[in-house]
Structure formats: structure tokens, C-alpha cells
């Protein structure tokens, strides 16, 4: 894998979500690293400094919110932005989000296409033309 590809870290305890999202992103030319809980995710992010993080909210060991809060508090990862996937109807307070770099919250069941569009928008700063029609 070439290092010029943008790197995304996906954190979710449900492997099927990891598979679906990584497949969509890899096929679109992103490099992907996955982790299964907030702690693993935090270590992977601190080590690899990805361009973007996609994380679930509810996970064992450490929640996605706690992970993102810790990421923002840590100088080396303070500027890494994140997208959060949550159960539908589950809302996170604005104050809690304030302590993180979560810039978008998508609810499950999510559309992989929409996740990809969001990632492209945030990482490449572009919107795929087909989506913009």
C-alpha cells in the first residue's frame, strides 16, 4: 500500500460494520486500519496518526466518546477529526461533543455510500460529483 493514500482508522466492536465500512473505503482508495474498542482505537490512532477516525459510540472497554475526548486532550492526536456512528435516536450532548473532534454524527442503520461521501468531504475536501447532482 502506498503511503500517499489517506489513512482512516475505524473503531467498532461489531466486526460486520468494520468489514462493510473498510471495504467501501478501501475500494474508494483509502488505507484502513481497524480496532474493536476505544482503547485499541486510541493506541492505533496515536501510533498511526490517521487523516480521519470513524468510531462507534457504544463499545466495551472504552466508549467512542471517551476515546475521542482522550484524543483531543492528547497533543499528538488533538487535531485528528472524527465521524461518530450511533444508534438511531441516540443523541450526544453538545457539551460532550465540544470536548472532542467529532465533526459529524451518523446514525445506524447508516448508508455506506453516505459514510464514504462524508469521509471524502472531510479528508479530500471534495464532494463526489455523482453525489452532488
Amino acid at each position: 500500500m502506498s503511503s500517499s493514500k489517506p489513512l482512516i482508522v475505524i473503531v467498532d466492536d461489531e466486526t460486520h460494520i468494520l468489514h462493510v465500512v473498510s471495504l467501501k473505503l478501501r475500494n474508494a482508495g483509502f488505507e484502513v486500519i481497524t480496532a474493536q474498542n476505544g482503547e485499541e482505537g486510541f493506541d492505533a490512532i496515536a501510533q498511526h496518526r490517521p487523516d480521519l477516525v470513524i468510531t462507534d459510540y457504544q463499545m466495551p472497554v472504552m466508549s467512542g466518546l471517551e476515546m475521542c475526548t482522550r484524543l483531543k486532550a492528547e497533543p499528538v492526536t488533538a487535531n485528528i477529526r472524527a465521524i461518530m456512528l450511533t444508534a438511531r435516536g441516540f443523541s450526544i450532548s453538545a457539551e460532550a461533543l465540544e470536548q472532542t473532534n467529532i465533526q459529524a454524527v451518523l446514525s445506524k442503520p447508516f448508508s455506506p455510500r453516505e459514510v464514504l461521501t462524508k469521509v471524502q468531504e472531510m479528508v479530500l475536501g471534495t464532494v463526489d460529483k455523482t453525489e452532488a447532482i
Binding site: M1, H19, L23, V32, P109, R113, E114
Partner: protein
């Protein structure tokens, strides 16, 4: 996860090759070169192995052995003996025992090369030394015998390699499976998310037109087509005003009329109502404007009970560019078409029910109005003006429709009033007048048990109340204070609302009930009505309900604008002046000021229609214009 990009064979063989090399076993690459299978060394190897590989006779033996493997594959699965004490185990993607005759051998592969001590004692070793111009005795000294293999070792390692190959093939197959499942799951997520969005939209009370347009747009995005359209059939009256409608989304390559043409054509080509279809041969449709634009066309019928109600179609896949439409696309469109069909069917059923309901109401109210030819069309005109007033007063669309129904049904209680009284020319006796005054309560009682009329009843019951409290049946005054507003009502206001006619005894008698406490003395003659009022409008804390105030204006306006048994109609200007004059006494002053500004043209037209109809039905008795 990188399966897609890599050669599958090298993918599974590379780790095995690295492993056998780390065990000190030499691997060679076998590859076809000008029609001959040749071996070469890429990693590290021993001197004796280099010597062998460099020897043309050895290469010829390898080529010959390869042909034998090809013709009788996997005889025993063990190493192939090339020369005495020289064995080769090819690392084939499929393990020997399961390789089938029909599987062609690859034109290159990796193989493990073993050299055993017996080779050193063979004739071939001497020949090798001769051919490669190496001194036989020096060669023997140079070789570290301890590093040579035995046949047993070669056999065991070959078996291990076979197992590893089998495991690697399994792992690879599972990897492919996971990849396939992830792709399918991804599609399912798209489908789920799309259907979820649609379901969310369905619960929102939005016009079907918007819903279908949204669905069309969402699907075009999800499937990644350049354009997508939905055409509804033009000959199903159940579709009401959606008959023959076209919805389109995306980058429209055709004009609206062309899309309609394609849609109508597609519905006539004998589609199976339950099967989505990808038409690859667009030319066969004979639609030049379409075949110029798309190479294939997805067609999904919309059907309820096997009856075609529309067709969804679109073309030109954009994501990935230039791709053909797939079964995934038609599956997704099929799922959406299903929901859409159900939605449209529900809409039609709803419309049917609504039409039935309104038809019944109209029939019922016409029957009431027909009791007295002077009131022909009265209910419909009151409904019309109540609706216009409600709209102008800024009420919510749904409430406006309920006001219309209330206006239509407001006089239903007249069913219980004898025709002789209703149609009596000249002055009514006090008793007759009392009978007429009963109609709001009779109406409320008739409607009491109809769940769908709960919100209408207060309007029916209170349409003869007056702003100043001198109306009937309860003599309510002012605007009703609803529960929401009740906190704001001060004690002074409550006192003000109480009529000063209420005697002390009555107040004491009634004060246990917050509602009746606010009701004026006309309660005296209708205790039953008060409980009725209370049961249908629990929020009524006094004052005239909004529906009643709206209908009262429309009702009086129509009464004054129509000829009655006892008087001729008034001129429009007079009627308006009268309403202005009575604002704040008979009518809610705020609503009255809205009412006088209304556009009365629709009313005039309706009134004219009613007059003509009434004339035709009974010789012009109700003709108010000429009278």
C-alpha cells in the same frame, strides 16, 4: 483485504515459501521459458543446488518431470524424484490430493528442492561434475553432508507443505467469502438505510406527491444512476390527481414529455408486475430518444395485487462510471418499488375512504338542507366560508379541513326538528322557537359516538353562541380558554366572564364543577347538555370554542345573503355592514374583521349554482334573486 489486487497464487504461496526457506530448505521458481519449464533460484541456496540449477541436463529433467506431473497429476502427493537423491515438491495452489485432472497446471510455480546424501553416490552426480567442469573429489569435499536431506525428511516436509497449502487455500477462500459477504452486507445496509428513510417519511404526514418525488431522488442517489423516473398509470381513477403523473430525479437526459412517453410505452410492453428487469437491448424498445442516451435501462413495475399502477425506470450507471446495471441495483429498486406501491395503495385507500366520508357528509347535509328548500346548499356554503375564514385567520392546514367538515355538518341537529317548524312561514311561537334552539344540542348528541367527530362537536354545539353571551344553548361569552391558555386566565377575567344574572344559589350549587361554574344561566334549562358539553370538550373552561365562532360568522353571513320564508335576502354590502356592526356583540371581533376582508367570489358562484339547482328541483320557490 488486499485480495483483489494481488495474484491469488503468489498471495497464498509467498508465506509458505518464506516459511520453508526459514527452515533451511531451498525454494526454486519454476517458469515456462520458450516452451520449456525451467527452474531458477531467487533466494539463498547451497553450492550443490546452484550447481544443479546451472546444469542444462538437470533443467531438461525438470521439464520432463513437469510434463509427467501434467499428465498424471498428484500420483502420491509426495516429492517428485528428479535424479537419485534429488527431489522436488511443487507448491501448487490446489493441494495434490484434491487437484482434478481438468485443472490446468499453472505455467509457473514455486517448488521446494531437496538434495539427499544418496545423490553424492549416484552416477548423475559424477556426470553433473563432468558437465559443469567441477572436480568430483573437490566437489565431494566442498559439500557439507550434515546439511543434506534424507528422503524421509523430504517426505515429511512435503506433507507439511501440503497441509499448509490446504490451510492457505482455506484461508484464501474464507477471505474471499468475507469480501463477498461484506459487499453484500454493504448493499443491504444501503437498502436498509433507504427503506428506513422512506419509512420515516411515510409517517410524516406529507402529501404523496412529495413522498414519491423524495423516494425517486433518494433511489437515484443510492443506485448511482444518472437519472431515474417514476411514471404512474393514467387510467386508474383510484390514483385521483396522481393519475398519469411523472416524477424524475437526477441529470435528466430526456425532456419531461419524452420521459412520460417512455414511461407510458414501458407499461404497454407486457411487464411482469412483480419483476424488475434490466433491458440491455434498448433499441428493441423503438425509442430513439432513449437509445441515444443510455445503453441499458432498469425497469421496475409498481404494482398492487398484480395490477400495474406505475413503472420506475432509469439509466446510465454513474457509480462506478460506465458500469452496467446489476442485480443489486434491480434488487434495491425492487425493494423501493415495493414500499412505494404499498404507500401508493395506502394513499388510494385513504383517498377512497376520505371520498366516501366526505360523500356521506355531503349527502347527509344535503338531506338536511332539503327539508327546507330555502336552505338548499346552505351547509355547503357555510362550510366553504368557514374554511376560507379559518384559512385567512392563519389556522393550520389540517385544522382548516376540520373546520370545513364542522361547517358542513353544523346543522345536522335539524334532523330532529319538525319540518313544520323549520319551514313555517311567518312568526314562530315561543315553543316552536325553543324547538329550533334545540338543534345544536341534538346535533352534538347525534355525533357524540362517532370517534372521528370528537373535535367537530364543540363547533356544532356552539355555532349559535354569541360573543356577548346572549346566544344559545349555553350563553357562552368571549373566546374559549383552552387548557394551554388557562394558566393565563386571571381571576378578574373569570369573574368578568360570569354573567351577572347568575344567582348566588346557583353559583353555590354549581361551583364544585370548574366548567359549569363559568356557564351562564341558560344552563338552567339544559342540565343534560352541560354534561354533554363537558364530556365532549373536557378542555372547555368557558367561552365559545373557535369552531363555533368561525361557523357562527359563516352561518349568519349565508342566512343574511339568502332569502328565508320570512324575509328576502340582503344585499352583500348590507350583510357586510351588519357583520361589522355586530362584531363584538354577536361575533368574535377579531374573526369578524378577517371575515369582511374575504374574497366572496367563490361564495357567489356557489350560491348561483345552488339557486339554479334549487329552481330545477322545485320550480324556483327558493329563488332569492327574483323574489
Amino acid at each position: 483485504m488486499t485480495l483483489m489486487a494481488l495474484n491469488l497464487e503468489s498471495m497464498s504461496m509467498d508465506p509458505i515459501r518464506r516459511r520453508i526457506e526459514s527452515l533451511g530448505i531451498t525454494s526454486v521458481i519454476l517458469a515456462a521459458d520458450s516452451g520449456k519449464m525451467r527452474a531458477r533460484i531467487e533466494g539463498s541456496a547451497r553450492w550443490i543446488e546452484h550447481l544443479l540449477i546451472d546444469c542444462a541436463a538437470f533443467q531438461a529433467t525438470i521439464h520432463q518431470a513437469w510434463q509427467e506431473i501434467r499428465t498424471s497429476p498428484g500420483a502420491d502427493g509426495g516429492p517428485v524424484t528428479l535424479w537419485p537423491g534429488v527431489w522436488l515438491t511443487p507448491l501448487l495452489a490446489a493441494p495434490h490430493p484434491r487437484r482434478r485432472q481438468t485443472d490446468p497446471l499453472p505455467d509457473h510455480c514455486v517448488a521446494a528442492l531437496f538434495v539427499g546424501t544418496e545423490f553424492l553416490h549416484s552416477e548423475q552426480f559424477r556426470l553433473l561434475c563432468d558437465m559443469q567442469r567441477v572436480d568430483y573429489q573437490a566437489a565431494l569435499k566442498r559439500i557439507d553432508v550434515a546439511q543434506l536431506a534424507t528422503r524421509r525428511e523430504a517426505d515429511r516436509v512435503s506433507t507439511l507443505i501440503e497441509w499448509m497449502q490446504s490451510d492457505a487455500a482455506d484461508a484464501e477462500r474464507r477471505g474471499k467469502e468475507v469480501y463477498g459477504l461484506s459487499s453484500e452486507l454493504g448493499e443491504t445496509y444501503e437498502e436498509l438505510s433507504l427503506l428506513y428513510k422512506l419509512a420515516m417519511n411515510m409517517t410524516v404526514d406529507q402529501p404523496p406527491r412529495h413522498f414519491i418525488a423524495d423516494a425517486c431522488h433518494e433511489l437515484q442517489q443510492v443506485v448511482g444512476m444518472r437519472w431515474l423516473a417514476i411514471q404512474l398509470v393514467a387510467d386508474d381513477p383510484r390514483l385521483n390527481d396522481l393519475q398519469g403523473e411523472v416524477f424524475a430525479a437526477g441529470d435528466l437526459v430526456l425532456t419531461h414529455d419524452q420521459i412520460r412517453g417512455v414511461g407510458l410505452h414501458l407499461m404497454n410492453i407486457g411487464l411482469d408486475p412483480n419483476l424488475p428487469k434490466v433491458i440491455d437491448d434498448i433499441h428493441s424498445l423503438g425509442l430513439p430518444e432513449l437509445s441515444r442516451q443510455s445503453s441499458d435501462l432498469l425497469v421496475v413495475p409498481l404494482a398492487t395485487d398484480n395490477r400495474l399502477i406505475g413503472v420506475l425506470f432509469g439509466g446510465q450507471k454513474l457509480d462506478p462510471p460506465g458500469a452496467n446495471l446489476t442485480t443489486v441495483d434491480s434488487k434495491l429498486c425492487g425493494a423501493l418499488a415495493n414500499s412505494l406501491s404499498i404507500f401508493i395503495e395506502n394513499f388510494m385507500l385513504y383517498e377512497d375512504m376520505q371520498a366516501m366520508f366526505m360523500g356521506t357528509l355531503h349527502a347527509l347535509t344535503s338531506a338536511i338542507d332539503a327539508k327546507d328548500s330555502y336552505t338548499f346548499g346552505h351547509s355547503e356554503r357555510v362550510a366553504l366560508m368557514s374554511r376560507m375564514l379559518a384559512e385567512a385567520a392563519g389556522l393550520d392546514g389540517q385544522v382548516v379541513e376540520r373546520v370545513y367538515v364542522a361547517g358542513l355538518i353544523h346543522d345536522v341537529g335539524k334532523i330532529g326538528v319538525p319540518e313544520a317548524v323549520l319551514c313555517k312561514p311567518g312568526k314562530l311561537t315561543a315553543g316552536e322557537f325553543e324547538q329550533i334552539r334545540m338543534h345544536p344540542e341534538i346535533g352534538a348528541r347525534i355525533l357524540r359516538d362517532i370517534r372521528q367527530m370528537k373535535d367537530i362537536i364543540p363547533g356544532v354545539l356552539s355555532h349559535h353562541e354569541r360573543w356577548d353571551g346572549h346566544g344559545y344553548p349555553f350563553g357562552l361569552a368571549g373566546a374559549e380558554v383552552t387548557e394551554l391558555q388557562s394558566d393565563e386566565v386571571t381571576k378578574e377575567e373569570v369573574t368578568e366572564l360570569q354573567s351577572d344574572e347568575v344567582t348566588k344559589e346557583e353559583v353555590t350549587e354549581l361551583q364544585s364543577d370548574e366548567v359549569t361554574k363559568l356557564i351562564t344561566p341558560s344552563l338552567r334549562h339544559s342540565v343534560t347538555s352541560s354534561s354533554l358539553l363537558h364530556s365532549v370538550t373536557p378542555s372547555l373552561l368557558g367561552g365559545i370554542p373557535l369552531f363555533g365562532r368561525l361557523i357562527a360568522l359563516a352561518d349568519s353571513f349565508d342566512a343574511m345573503s339568502s332569502t328565508r320564508t320570512y324575509r328576502s335576502r340582503l344585499e352583500h354590502g348590507q350583510v357586510i355592514n351588519e357583520i361589522r356592526r355586530c362584531a363584538g356583540t354577536q361575533f368574535d371581533p377579531d374573526l369578524a374583521s378577517v371575515f369582511v376582508e374575504l374574497d366572496f367570489e367563490p361564495y357567489r358562484q356557489m350560491h348561483r349554482r345552488h339557486e339554479i339547482a334549487a329552481q330545477q328541483s322545485d320550480g324556483g320557490r327558493s329563488d332569492g334573486v327574483t323574489k
